[in-house]
Amino acid sequence: MTSVPPAAAAVRPGARQAARRVGKRLSGRAASAVAIVIAVLWTTPTFGLFLSSLRPEDQIKTTGWWSFFSDPQLTLENYREVLFGTSSSSGKMAGFLINSIVITIPSVLFPLAFAAFAAYALAWVPFRGRNGIYIGVFALQVVPLQMALVPLLSFFSEGVSVFGLQLMPAWELEGPARFAQVWFAHTCFALPFGVFLLHNFMSELPGELIEAARVDGAGHGVIFRRVVLPLIAPALATFGIFQFLWVWNDLLVALIFAGGTSESAPMTVRLAQMAGTRGNEWQRLTAGAFVSLVIPLAVFLSMQRYFVRGLLAGGVKG
């Protein structure tokens, strides 16, 4: 934002072409080689995990996954155990998968909306102290999650009381209603980054657009819905993907607020339990890790286009 003129929401027509030219100049043969080396380095560990998850237990533990190429032996046994294992501890992944979905969807929607509202107010509604609030929200990114667990848990289990006066009762949630606690917690923890990111996008929008709408007599609600939202849709996708990955992969928040039973615990909790009391059960860990990886991977790959477009739209200009 310092040396670049404020980027418009849309990419300038010539920019792509120019960028390609920058690229061409740098991508000599050596450059391609370096790029390939990086790509291979980055992919190999995951590939190794995937191959290992398909190998028989005794082989995983005694030989490296690359020996597959000289002695190919594959089995789906590990996946069978993880997904449909008959012991309540090794299997029943399906129920936990549903928990993960039930936890993730609202935990992405709420922060998206609240962060977008707040970012809009901080970017386009002129009022005193908004810089202060923005800085405060930004700074909150650093509050370590671990220190917030106890106060938030007592907020749920004991409510809010000031000097003995009960301002808010305890939540007293049972069964599936406990999901609400998890949604609440994830929403709290996601807001600082969400506001930071969306504010960056929104403050980049050309002021003339907003001003024009205002001259036409549109209120903030209308401007937000009709002008701003469509323009920041890619940014929302970006934040949404980040938040999805974060919630889906989270273990700590789920452990505290969702508990560890199949009633409400997500897959990560199940995976951690599957690591088991018996240590390096590589065959279960590799297969389990891969199962939990499939959905975020699919979501990311299918949303990738929006994601990149969101970043392209100039939102990352600081």
Partner: protein, 450 residues
């Protein structure tokens, strides 16, 4: 998985019904029906004394997970059915930390199985736990030796009855290998060292060990130290050391640690099957003794529960693939036993919670649990015939023997900052190359001031 697959399979039919119950038991919407007809039948007679608690719920939290947790839940099913209550069980690897978070947050479970009396004390001191009801106290006094009951007692008030147990003073070996080479099970420490030397002479590294255990890395090494300290200082001296009446860096402690070091830090003696001394720190404790089955190591000091960690197909018996002997001391007549176990602490005192507490303290519960799979308890009501393997039987015999001097794992009794912190860390550093004095000075300095 390996050893437990057999009992797990037999229980499968019964288990499926239970699982459906767990899955369906989403609380409010599901009236708990099963108790309706069962109350009067003969099967329920043993549970009558615990009363009827239709539709009540008790939550249990512990560090026991996986297959062992399944077995506990199966054990409780008849109890649940007959009393009409439902026990929601949750096991977590992060138990020690999570229980603190939940309790601080005002959302503790009804019952928790504390593996560390020290942790139990901390919760009592903070006023979080309820004293055990009279019936539980009576059962505990009837079923456990005073040595055990005292670990559930804080400042004269009885809080928690013991549950399971493990015996730590074991050295695992291969009876076949011993027979073939003509080695005898040593009766004294000197014999043990002579044997060690003999084995090293044959080109095999005699000992193998592994102390890696995630954030708990180091605990198997602290067990080693405790076992030797218990023999060197005697039970009273050991108690003084645990209570910090003897400093951590006192000369006698240094001597004991060096005595262990003569084995664990000697490149000739360790780490069979894994490499140099340092490989001990990187080897998972679950895999520490496995080289014995491959003939690449002869001795492995680890608790009775190590029976679960042998590779599938390994028979645990005096004439089988592996077995264990008592880690000897200087005097063959003195046989103090180091061990550990869980204690059932209660955060609430509702009648149904106390009923579960009482049930868990009975011999019936211990026996029912033993029938399902490997399990050791110091509960005197346990019938040794129910033991699932010879090592369980041996452990129970040792625990039941009135002449046995039993001492609890010291690191579980100390303040957690030491017992689950600097002691583990210090011993890991010690294995990884630091010298004894440096490490013990470091641990001593970390002991909380108050």
């Amino acid at each position: 998985m390996s050893l437990l697959s057999r009992p797990a399979r037999t229980a499968l039919v019964a288990g499926t019904a239970g699982l459906a119950l767990v899955a369906a038991g989403c609380g409010s919407s599901e009236p708990s029906a099963p108790a309706a007809g069962g109350g009067t039948s003969a099967a329920c007679a043993p549970f009558e004394k615990f009363g009827k608690h239709d539709g009540k719920k008790v939550s249990v939290y512990s560090s026991i997970r996986d297959t062992e947790a399944d077995l506990f839940q199966q054990t409780w099913m008849p109890f649940e059915k007959c009393t009409g209550m439902k026990i929601t069980y949750e096991g977590a690897g992060e138990f020690e930390a999570q229980i603190q978070v939940r309790s601080d947050g005002g959302n503790p479970p009804d019952l928790a199985f504390f593996p560390q009396p020290g942790l139990l004390q901390r919760f009592v001191a903070a006023g979080r736990l309820k004293p055990a009801p009279a019936e539980v106290k009576r059962l505990a006094e009837q079923n456990w030796s005073p040595d055990w009951a005292k670990y559930g007692t804080v400042d004269g008030t009885f809080y928690a009855a013991p549950l399971g147990a493990s015996v730590k003073s074991f050295v695992w070996y291969s009876p076949g290998m011993f027979k073939e080479k003509g080695w005898a099970v040593p009766k004294t420490w000197d014999e043990l060292m002579t044997l060690t030397d003999t084995i090293a002479g044959t080109g095999v590294k005699p000992w193998c060990a592994g102390i890696e255990s995630g954030e708990a890395t180091g605990w198997p090494a602290t067990d080693w130290i405790e076992d030797v300290l218990l023999r060197e200082l005697g039970p009273e001296g050991y108690d003084d050391w645990v209570a910090h009446k003897i400093p951590f860096n006192a000369p006698e402690v240094v001597a004991a640690v060096d005595k262990v070091g003569a084995i664990l830090k000697n490149e000739r003696f360790v780490n069979g099957g894994y490499g140099p001394v340092k490989s001990i720190a990187g080897t998972a404790f679950q895999e520490g003794g496995v080289p014995i089955t491959e003939g690449r190591c002869a001795l492995h000091r680890q608790a009775s529960f190590y029976a679960n960690f042998w590779p599938e197909g390994t028979t645990v018996a005096e004439d089988g693939d592996v077995f264990a002997f008592y880690l000897p001391g200087n005097d063959p007549a003195e046989k103090p036993v180091l061990g550990a176990g869980e204690f059932v602490g209660a955060f609430t005192d509702r009648p149904e919670v106390q009923a579960v507490q009482a049930y868990l303290a009975t011999g019936d519960h211990a026996n029912a649990r033993m029938k399902l799979g490997t399990y050791v308890s110091a509960n005197k009501g346990v019938d040794i015939a129910n033991a699932q393997n010879p090592i369980d039987r041996l452990s129970i015999e040792m625990l039941h023997d009135p002449d046995t001097v039993f001492r609890f794992d010291g690191s579980d009794l100390m303040p957690a900052a030491v017992g689950a912190g600097t002691f583990w860390k210090g011993m890991t550093d010690w294995i990884n190359g630091k010298d004894t004095t440096t490490v013990l000075d470091f641990i001593e300095a970390s002991w909380p001031a108050s």
